[in-house]
Each structure stands twice: as structure tokens, then as C-alpha cells.
Symmetry: C2
Subunit: 254 residues, 2 copies
């Protein structure tokens, strides 16, 4: 029996956002590994072993998956969102590169999923409808100075921005610094979207002008989207629509 | 009967990448509108009217959808990929903002989809596994100078980059300029991924070092991903794996 590792994106939470491709992979798996709350989303069945592990052990988890695949298991590594966006895919490939050369010959595939920024954007309109960037605000694995540099350059480029991991329990001050920097550099009242637990029963969405944003509006389960200077709000009776137009005005006819 | 407009993402091409949410919306629609090749992906059935239109009429198409919804129809506007990423969602909201105020009270929802950059990334590994940006290289709706500014700042920020619409038939020179700029600014041999028609039978993927990239490696159906300075290649017997590690080295212990 030939083993495999499939790194699969479960999307942001709702079952209706899991692709048929991912569902089929789970239906054929012998072993599922992942962070506890993501493994909890996989239904138990005979012939399937669930291996849930804690946060911050991504490399150990990856090695475990690769090792089981070497023994002929059909392993699915589950991520929330998309596995290639601040999730398990890079961790698995780091383990492959550092591991035994035989791991390179394994059948390893990545199945994309609905990443949190796109699920959050869809809930309010189309704030990422023009050029944008995605930044992981956690400084567990990179120096804070690099995050700050990227924030400044992204603001100068007038990208809309999506922030993953805005506020960790262990290092809550990063998001406060981010807001201080953006308020100073952007100097306007562009909309900021705080989208918590998107597509789950606990979903909460707030749209807040940048000058009114406070660090405690985000927690570990919040995705933060910041508009560009062109992002617009359409007021209406219900929740406002937030979107970034496709066009940028052309210079005076040359 | 109360009408609605659902702007739904069909993903990059394969049926197995269409979310159950989108499939359910299509099953309940009375009318589907969209660009010809995307509407062609929707199965005909009694009670469903398909309205296929040509490219570059996004605002007319949006008005048509909103108008039918005002008359009580359940309209689905189909996009490829994710509707919020260089696709139909912003066009519909532009039409809402400029249209009759009654349109603001319509039930309008966006259903996310697998966007091309994430499908392309998944095929080669995890090149977008760290901070990245997404740029539409078409200068139909924005000045070329802005694209160039964003490319320079994105390279300075050391983002991985995803390029949508790299090469249009009418303006092929933009992508040549992009490559010239990146070769000069990046000055290294970071991998570039040309992913054509991802997840369809015509899929073709090439991984090319930046100095060797040529403009004609991309066409209208190609998604281009450019690694950051940290992006790595794992050589193996089959296609190489391309991924960007999660970590950036920390400065010497402070």
C-alpha cells in the first residue's frame, strides 16, 4: 500500500464552505492529524484514527504525518482556512526539507480551502476587491521590525490589508502598535473590519473607522481587514456594505 | 416573492473545488448571469434562465442582475475563483452605489470561492506560506504608474506576489515591463510559478528562476506567483516543491 500526505483546508468553519475535494480526501483517509479544534471538525468513523495535537507543535505534527505516510498510511493534515496561508502546508514542507530524503518521494498534495480573509471579506462586501496584501501579525516566528516595515510599505503602496493572528494571548502589544502605526501613516478614516469566528455560530462583524479602532476589538479568532484609501462604504438600513472599487482614476489625459 | 442577488465564486475550474454553499445557491436560482465561459459551467434545468454576456460589460451585467432581483428573481452572479478578488463583487457594489436607492435594500450576498492564486499555490507547494500580496496587472482600470509603484514597494517589503491578469491580448507589454522591473529590483534567482488553467484538463505549471522568465510564458489564463527572497525549492524526482517558510531569522539576540 502506497502512503500519502494530503494537506487539506477546512475553510473558516461552516461545513458548507468545505470543498468536495477535501471531503473526499477525508473520506479516504486512514489518519487525520492537526490542531485540536480542527481535528474536532472531522467525523469519527471505523478505520479512521484521529491524532489531535496542541498549537505550536507544527513541525512535530508534520513529521508524524510524514512518518505515517512512509508506513503506507493515507494521512490528511487538516488546517483551517487554506493550508497555504499561514497554516500547515509550509510546516509540512519545512519538515520534508529537513527530513530523510525518502520523504521527498512521498505523494504529498495540498488541497486549497476558503481562507479566512476571503470569507470575512465576503461577509461585508468586497473590501479586497482591488490590490491587497496579507500579513501575519504574529511575531513568534519573525522579528517585529519586519512586520512594521511591511506595514509601512503596504500603506505606502495603498494596498488593502488582511491581518492574520492580530492578537495573540502571549504578545498582545503587537496589534496596538499596528493600529498606532496605521493611524499615523494612513491619516484618514478608512474602514477597518473586525471579523470574528466567520461562518460559525459565534460570528461577529464590526466595521470601524480607523481612528476609532482599539486593540481589544480583535482577539485570537478575529480576522482584521483594513481598506485602502479608495475603499468605500454604502450606507443602508442593515449592515453597511464595504467595498474597494476596481478602478483607480487615470491621470489627466496625457 | 422577495428577490436576491448572490455573487458566487465557482473556483478555478474543477467541480470538486466548488463549495456546497455555491452549489446550493445555484440549485435555488431563477437566473444566472455572468461572463460566457463561467455561465457555461452552470447546468441547465427547468426554471433556470442563463444570461451569458461578454467580457468588459461588468457594470451592465450587474445592473441587469440587480434589476431582475428588484422584480423578485433569485439571481446568482457567477465569477470564477473568488468573487471578491478581481472579480464580480466590486462591480455589483459599484452598480449598487450608483443605482436607485431601492437597490441598497435588496438581499445581496457574496459567497466566497477558491481564488486562482491559492489553487495555483497548492499545486506547487506553499509559495504564499508567508506574507504576500495580490496585484492585478491589467491597466485597463488603473494607471500603469500605480502598478509599477506597487511592484517596487512589494519587492522592497519582500512580499511573495500573486499576479492576476498578467497578460491581456490588447496590452501585452505590461507583463514584459513587470519582469524587467522585478529582475532589476530583486536581483536574485527566486522561483516564479506560471500556473495556467489550474484544476482544468489544460492545466500547465512551470517553475522558472526569475532571471530566465520571459513575457510569453504567461497568457490570459495564467496566474503568476513570484516567491519572496526566502522562498525555497525542494528538488526531487518529480516536479519540485516550492514553499516559503513560516520563519524569518530573528536578529542576533538583543
Amino acid at each position: 500500500m502506497s502512503g500519502s500526505v494530503i494537506i487539506a483546508g477546512l475553510g473558516p468553519g461552516a461545513e458548507a464552505l468545505v470543498t468536495p475535494d477535501v471531503s473526499a480526501a477525508l473520506a479516504q483517509a486512514t489518519d487525520v492529524v492537526g490542531y485540536i479544534p480542527y481535528v474536532a471538525r472531522v467525523a469519527e468513523r471505523p478505520g479512521l484514527t484521529l491524532h489531535a495535537s496542541d498549537n505550536r507543535v507544527e513541525i512535530d505534527r508534520s513529521r508524524h504525518a510524514l512518518d505515517m505516510a512512509s508506513q503506507g498510511k493515507r494521512v490528511v493534515v487538516v488546517s483551517s482556512g487554506d493550508p497555504g496561508v499561514f497554516a500547515m502546508a509550509s510546516a509540512v514542507f519545512e519538515a520534508v526539507e529537513a527530513g530523510p530524503s525518502a520523504w521527498r518521494d512521498l505523494d504529498i498534495r495540498v488541497l486549497p480551502g476558503i481562507t479566512a480573509m476571503l470569507a470575512a471579506a465576503a461577509r461585508v462586501g468586497a473590501p479586497l476587491g482591488h490590490d491587497f496584501c496579507a500579513i501575519n501579525l504574529s511575531d513568534n516566528l519573525k522579528p517585529w521590525a519586519l512586520i512594521e516595515k511591511r506595514l509601512r510599505l503596504a500603506a505606502e503602496a495603498d494596498f488593502a490589508m488582511a491581518f492574520y493572528n492580530p492578537r495573540s494571548r502571549s504578545r498582545p502589544e503587537g496589534f496596538a502598535r499596528t493600529l498606532t502605526l496605521l493611524k499615523a501613516v494612513c491619516g484618514d478614516a478608512r474602514p477597518v473590519i473586525f471579523a470574528r469566528a466567520v461562518s460559525t455560530p459565534e460570528e461577529e462583524i464590526r466595521v470601524v473607522p480607523l481612528p476609532d479602532c482599539e486593540p481589544d476589538m480583535a482577539d485570537m479568532r478575529t480576522m482584521v481587514l483594513v481598506g485602502s484609501s479608495a475603499t468605500r462604504i454604502i450606507a443602508r438600513d442593515g449592515a453597511p456594505i464595504v467595498y474597494t472599487p476596481r478602478s483607480v482614476p487615470m491621470p489627466e489625459s496625457a
